[in-house]
Amino acid sequence: MSEPPGAAVSLAEAPPPAAAPSEPLTAQRVLPLRRPGRWIATAAVLVLAAQFVHGLVTNPFYQWDRFGYWFLRPTIVDGLLVTLEVTAYSAALGLLGGVLLALARLSRSPVLRAVSWVYVWAFRSIPLIVVLLFLYNFSALYRTLSLGVPFGPAFLTFDESELATDLVIAVVGISLHESAYAAEVVRGGILSVDQGQHEAAAALGLPKGYQFRRIVFPQALRSIVPNYVNQLIGLIKGTSLVFYVSLLDLFGAAQSMGSTYPGDIVPLLMVATVWYLVLTSVVSVVQFYVERYYARGATRSLPPTPLQRLRAAVTGLTARARREAAV
């Protein structure tokens, strides 16, 4: 009320506090809204997280010394390598099969479209474990596989039991399953490419294969990559089913060691868990850079890498510190 009358006509009903600055309002920075609720929530979450970590570390149930003992044991590492091997082959074969199935589904031939549709329908309906167990008993159904004229003479004949090692059965089974899902991921990606791109490529007279490899597919990859990586992460864990076709992958190794040393089953499961976490993390990092690569041209500037973001944050902080020191 110390202000001269008339200075704040419109504020007459809500006079400014006595300490109101005399500077014009426009010259000041807007004060950020205080958010006490956010601080309370943060504190609560931190307490819960601390409790969880504390439990993990101190609960004797986890037997961290046994975890350390098992983590790099040759049995476990061998299992990890089997998991990696199965995953790598199945991911590559599954994607290849998926691309072929998607192309068949999008082709003008009704026969190819129908075959692709039926394949995807069948393998999305059958549980992976059933496919694997079926293949495992496959040699009882077909004793030999031969390459030759259909219904005619054979040129090459394989003995099924020699050809179908456990690894081959696992990779074939998972790839069959995986390509059905990959087909839909790839098809979705191709459909997401603007029709104008197909037209422009056709109008320039680019050869059909070039149109797909250089124009359509690279643009489709932008939406294929996140979806396929999602699929791939499911696949990494899905490979744990190969235990049932007597292949000792990471989970299988932990499981079988657990039945030999029943007291160590919890640390063994933790070993498998941590390894799966590591694998998923590696894939996520690779995904970031692959996505960034295929974002070229789609956005005006590429998103910064974590390293660039860190550097920018550090520069920002030092600049701010310098500014405040100067004041």
């Binding site: 104008g196 037209e199 422009a200 109008a203 007279g205 070039y210 041209g297 005006r300």
Partner: protein, 261 residues
């Protein structure tokens, strides 16, 4: 290029009694048109009159139900066989399209390739030029449309007018006998229209055969050798701009011009 001189010289385009329909909807109802080498033809007409479809029939992006288009006397997308027209295979059609440039309303540049690679794509993909020669050609063409400094940019980093100029350079990289423009300035902000029209005008004076669908009447008057007015899937009238634009003989032409001018 000695073997293919005819392909790159300004071409004659002839449309022979073309009919096109989608279900029961008739889009083109017997269109006949001859575009002479080096001539600039502007097609006008209300929306839905079939002008864009006609342009897309010329490079066989749309297949006519009846009739055909010929380039220097050679049928496009079809061949004569025992008195009938038979559809050509995809590969042959793609090869023919390499002699016809097409510029889209929405540019349709390849967003994942640099401007330079967009322009060089067709000569490289069709093995007409080795990569270094194609890149050199692309640089020359970009300079011609005033974008020499944008070679390493990606299309989305350019303005609409710049993108359309790149699209024109990309069509020119085919060294086509004719270039078709489908409403090349309709997707542009008004202040960007001029730069694109300037490039097209430059092409017109250099003797390339051009067929342009546009709503820019003033531009048509300025560069067209011939104006074609279409309505209801037919050509209503055609002739030099001084006749069709200034003294139209048909009621529908007059009606259309009174609305757009």
């Amino acid at each position: 290029m000695s073997t293919a001189v005819d392909d790159h010289a300004p071409a004659t385009v002839q449309v022979h009694d073309v009919h096109k329909w989608y279900g029961t909807h008739r889009v083109l109802n017997g269109v006949d048109l001859t575009v002479r080498p080096g001539e600039v033809t502007v097609i006008l007409g209300p929306s839905g009159s079939g002008k864009s479809t006609l342009l897309r029939v010329v490079n066989h992006l749309e297949k006519p139900e009846i009739g055909y288009v010929s380039l220097n006397g050679e049928p496009i997308g079809v061949r004569r066989h025992a008195g009938r027209l038979k559809e050509l295979g995809e590969r042959a059609i793609l090869a023919q399209r390499g002699r016809i440039g097409f510029v889209f309303q929405n540019f349709n540049l390849f967003p994942h390739l640099t401007v330079l690679d967009n322009v060089a794509a067709a000569p490289v993909a069709t093995r007409r030029l080795a990569k270094p020669a194609a890149l050199e050609l692309a640089r020359d063409l970009l300079a011609r449309v005033g974008l020499a400094d944008k070679a390493t940019a990606y299309p989305r980093q350019l303005s609409g007018g710049q993108q359309q100029r790149v699209a024109i350079a990309r069509a020119l990289a085919l060294r086509p006998g004719v270039i078709l423009f489908d409403e090349p300035t309709s997707a542009l902000d008004p202040e960007l229209v001029g730069e694109v029209l300037a490039v097209i005008k430059d092409l017109a004076t250099s003797g390339t055969t051009l067929v342009i669908v546009t709503h820019e009447i003033g531009f048509a008057r300025e560069i067209a050798d011939r104006v074609v007015f279409m309505d209801g899937g037919r050509i209503v009238e055609q002739g030099p701009p001084s006749e069709v634009l200034d003294a139209p003989r048909h009621e529908r032409t007059r009606d259309f011009l009174s609305k757009v001018l």
